[in-house]
Symmetry: C2
Subunit: 442 residues, 2 copies
């Protein structure tokens, strides 16, 4: 099995490369931007996630013998293109929003600059990673807001393809979840893992009491017992009988949760297990979590809804050529013009204006192409949102690996504090702050 | 980078394993079944996909030094459990529905038999693969029905995480799509790949004419030109001017497709390009495809909706212990009893009853545990749905790799012919055939 990521690519990128190598445009300098035209699902803000993952995958974006053989055997591209790909690695630069940052319609989340040849073929991989991870992160942030101070655990691996599950655990952790059930996410990204027992554990044993006793013997009285396999009331009674009043927790995975949680709390208190915590895990989403705010619940486990973006499984971002050089080396802003998908040409510099600690707008300065907008002089009160991620092919190591995940988590917590109150509501609405374009060309 | 899949596992599976090794229940023979309680999204049938992928991933489900070190360093399990895992490979048996087969509520899609220890730890991986791939396959089958004889291409890689994209291309191909844009899916699974050019191709050039001319020179007049970058009418005119009337095709990626397709067809015909085909690719789903049935469209390219399951990104299947031996070796049917998630205990044998070539029911015979139902004598007219996939740890090679994909595609085409007419409607409804349980215990 190869670790090259180079074939996570739509065939047309290589077809365009072949034609561009023939006609000489392959070497024109280009600026591609990755952005979302809107916030799907009526979200009031988006959260950027996947950047650190993408940077590592770009490092592995090489065409080795296996990749070249496939392309040759299937006549995907010609010999000149194969020769170009054999030598390919990305030598351009990428700047963008920090992972964990908020975004709004039009935010230039990534800006990829290089020759057409080297930048165009990253389109599919960049979009795959950021569309998935940002969709999960955005949903997870809403759940984290709904949960308030109560801990959230991600346990949806079984409802997402196996590698997406790892990425989803990572995105949820960045936006405020405290742990995941997914061991691979623990290994690869350093995310805390959790979990005790399923219904199969109880069913495996001759009696529920046998199951509880064995679990407590193996894991100690601090463990969490799943009490709803047969009859929740009897399960709670047994749990305290077996583990004593110092039982760590009980988990409830079915029933009308506000009702059941209140009953279980009352029962635990009556039995003297006043410190035993209640975790609920049954088909929760941000709305169900919010509806439990007044219930005696201590922690939430969220599955399907977080890993599938709670109704919005993709962020719908696009990767567009916005500026290029012509044959004479002059920069030209470009954009698709026709009908319903018009994009804004030109390179963007992005700032968040903040007043009294609250975000007021996404300020986007548009220029023709190469030149960077001077942030300090033109927008002294605005926070610049883009950082260098890759310079001349070299990735900034701070943004990758487990350290990158921790950095993204801290950054997200910090910038989320700036959201206006209207951004915290769960109902569908417009973006919480407006996107304001300014022309930086004169 | 390791190729082990063993940590694509929820932590609680290993926690249960540890406790079961301590109390001796780890070695009880068990039957787990993987099934869907319902067809989410109001689907009238489901399509099983992912089986071949899963079988290969189970072959790689080994705990090597890296995996064991992570578990030890993070104190996930004790030393005895680490020793068990170091020696682990699945030595039990798996039977199930053929990939590409239809399924309905309760269908025993996979039956995993082995000790509790060896079977319980496959839960997360099995569900991750089948929930994702079956959700995509089910959506893709509906699109394939809506498209009729017109070819469908999957081009949604950018709207799914990078590995999910490959799995989605595979699932779509099994259910009737003819090609994918994803090169990795071509390499790994032998699926035909396709694609020519994006809007960036036109924007890269000084004029649309330059772009078209270069593409035709590189790829021949049989290529497909993307005509909607600036003005579709002008684009079509230019395309025929550059390539001549033998131009292979034009692609339209925006606008009101029924209107635009009719206009473009009339224009092409008036220009004499009567054989030039029209491909449309703008945000299609099964409903949009159906609404184009009377339009002069020759081929569809589908993105977001197919890779995200068209509103149903997970099939919602579960993996449940349904029978186990007790300490004396007797088989006992088991099921969670409480509240809203009741499952049916006991091992299931599944058949599809068919009358005059049309499926009439999903017949499920329930037994306590070990014994297989004698199909020939009890249900002579019903087609048995389960085949052996893994026997004593050995995978049937016919179901894995590219050959497995081709087999699944043929099987799907065959069994879809049996669907009653009411299954072909796109509106939300009940399953097209009823699930009928019979007791096979006496």
């Amino acid at each position: 099995m190869t670790t090259s990521t180079a074939l996570h690519t739509d065939r047309y990128e290589l077809t365009m490369l072949e034609a561009a190598l023939r006609d000489g445009t392959a070497h024109r300098r280009c600026v591609f931007e990755l952005f979302g035209r809107r916030l799907p699902g009526g979200r009031r803000f988006g959260v950027v996630a996947g950047t650190g993952r993408l940077l590592s995958l770009i490092d592995d974006f090489r065409f080795g013998d296996d990749e070249l053989r496939f392309l040759r055997d299937n006549r995907v591209v010609d010999a000149a293109t194969l020769a170009f790909l054999a030598d390919y690695r990305f030598r351009g630069s990428i700047s963008g929003y920090r992972e964990g940052e908020l975004y709004f319609p039009g935010s230039p989340i990534l800006t990829v600059e290089g020759t057409f040849a080297e930048a165009v073929i990253l389109e599919t991989l960049a979009l795959s990673v950021l569309n998935h991870d940002s969709a999960v992160a955005t949903a997870a942030a809403r759940m984290s807001i709904a949960a308030g101070d109560r801990p959230l655990a991600e346990m949806g691996s079984r409802r997402a393809a196996e590698e997406s599950a790892v990425a989803a655990a990572r995105a949820a952790y960045i936006t405020g979840f405290g742990a995941t059930s997914n061991l691979e996410a623990g290994r690869r990204w350093g995310i805390p893992t959790m979990g005790t027992a399923a219904h199969a554990w109880t069913l495996l044993h001759d009696t529920e009491e046998d199951a509880f006793r064995s679990q407590v013997e193996a894991l100690g009285v601090g463990t969490t017992l799943l009490v709803d396999t047969y009859d929740t009331r009897r399960g709670v009674e047994l749990a305290v009988q077996v583990a004593g009043t110092r039982l760590g927790g009980v988990r409830i995975d079915s029933g009308d949760l506000p009702t059941v949680a209140a009953e279980v709390r009352a029962q635990l208190d009556a039995l003297g297990a006043t410190g035993t915590k209640i975790t609920v895990t049954s088909d929760l989403d941000e709305y169900a979590i919010a509806s439990l705010a007044a219930s005696p619940v201590d922690a939430y486990g969220v599955g399907t809804s977080v890993v599938t973006g709670s109704g919005t499984p993709t962020a719908g971002m696009v990767y567009k050529l916005v500026a290029r050089q012509d044959a004479a080396g002059s920069w030209i802003a470009v954009a698709k013009a026709s009908t319903d998908k018009g994009s804004k040409g030109g390179r963007k510099a992005a700032f968040r204006t903040v007043a009294d600690g609250t975000a007021t707008s996404e300020l986007i300065a548009v220029s023709d192409g190469f030149e960077h907008v001077d942030t300090a002089s033109e927008h002294p009160d605005a926070r610049p949102l883009q950082v260098p991620l890759v310079e001349a092919g070299r990735t900034d190591a701070r943004y990758v690996g487990p350290a990158g995940v921790e950095g993204a988590r801290s950054h997200h917590a910090r910038v989320r504090e700036e959201l206006p109150v209207r951004a915290l509501a769960l109902s569908k609405s417009d973006p919480a702050i407006p996107t304001v374009y300014v022309d930086a060309r004169e």
